[in-house]
Symmetry: C2
Subunit: 279 residues, 2 copies
Amino acid sequence: MSKLQKTYDRSRVPLYIQVASVMRQRIESRAWQAGQKIPTLVELEMEFQVARVTVRQAVEILREEGLLHCQQGRGTFVADKAVNRHWVKLATEWSVLVESIKGNVPRRIKVDNPPAFPTLAEGEGTPAPGYVYLSSLQFKKDQPYGIVNTHLAKQIFERDPKAFTEHPALAVLADLDNIEVQHAHQTVVIGSANLQEADLLKIAVGAPTAECRCVVIDNDGIAIYVSDITYRSDAIKLHIDLLAGSRPHSRVGDRPDEASKSAGCDTTRERSARERLLS
Amino acid sequence: MSKLQKTYDRSRVPLYIQVASVMRQRIESRAWQAGQKIPTLVELEMEFQVARVTVRQAVEILREEGLLHCQQGRGTFVADKAVNRHWVKLATEWSVLVESIKGNVPRRIKVDNPPAFPTLAEGEGTPAPGYVYLSSLQFKKDQPYGIVNTHLAKQIFERDPKAFTEHPALAVLADLDNIEVQHAHQTVVIGSANLQEADLLKIAVGAPTAECRCVVIDNDGIAIYVSDITYRSDAIKLHIDLLAGSRPHSRVGDRPDEASKSAGCDTTRERSARERLLS
DNA sequence: CTCAATTTGTTCGTATGTATG
DNA sequence: ACATACATACGAACAAATTGA
């Protein structure tokens, strides 16, 4: 049995896909540079301790993805094409968040049995007397990248039902008068796609996702907005300005709104990690 | 061919593992509550459109994990045991970050051919004349959860080489005098484990990770500290106080350091998404 | 130009794992 | 539990293209 199989047997993912993943990462991280010749099949089978055919299968995957091209007798080469990625930057500040989603046009999803109440953890406030459930899909360049499931306090929703169904709820919420916000926070963990999420986001079941929960609490401690957002893991990037609030103990001149410049829901081109794990 | 196989053929992960993933998520998200009977094998094969044996294989996986227990003639039940998780909270503010890592005792890793310079993207400053490379593994309850690879400007390192090798570099850096920090930020994307990372973090090759880059730039625009941190995806959680900096347009009383209370490198028990994708 | 070395490409045969009915 | 089909992985042998001596 190969070393890969032995050492990492926790995973029951096919070997040639694991090998392809490692090689893909080397390309995207520039460890194997564009245009360069990669190690020979013999060297690769020695490194990964797998059979010739298995390496070939991995190479074939990357060749189909356009990351490698092979020449009999010469070797296998990294494609010249840029492997840059587009990211949706996750906002880390209220005003930026609100501003960034104003332009979004959500595609509403019909939900059969919406949960009447959100499940609130400690620190997420107390439930409102009633909620409406809004579900939508977010797109960027016709590609789905996020699913938004929102519990919005009924009393808030009924102030402007039309706006809330046609625009992002948080943007409408921010524009309403007489709303007193005591708390607004967002948590992010890495999860994996279930059946419905995989289907909507066009990823594999079990592929990694970013699970965000955004909670807005009013002055009475009531959770008026509770949103569970599931992003494709390859679509989002977080940028945190560590000096946004206070300053470290060194002297630094004031930089009025440096943070807001970089955040928002813009896309950027940058080098990075990988395309997707299981696709 | 089953619907799963057809629809989600992007993934070449075995069907029974996909089914197990979906069922695991339902248990951890409380959709299937502790102690309750889950749907019968017949119902499950209909829902997932897979063969009886395939569902059984999935159930067997979860039974071995202790999440389910079966009783012939009665049905299959969700175990009562709590499925809570521990999280390492990722700090989102400089002072909190520094404070949170002060207690950490890194286990140094020897590196054969350390890269002399970090690869700096736009907005990450200009390179210092020289760097030292520090590599370490972070533990929580004897479990590895993060790999830290740091480029520290040589001139900074040489002010106190001993401290920098024995303590977290960022903590030492923050305590040095005469350091002028212009910029400090952290970016986070979701990546996948390569061979070395999988080995160190005890996860599968290709399993999702959180790839963090922390950059500190001095007043001359030089990147004096560039750290690439790879976390197990199931170990970390981000908590962002959206109101930490400014305030939304509603009236809110001052909450001096609400942010710093919640952040830091503490562990918490909470419900969540999944144990691991590929393990 | 030929030859040999190198490297990718192809094809067996075998064993085991996955999935169905 | 059984028979069937296909995917995964191995090892080995051989074919075809490229390179440089």
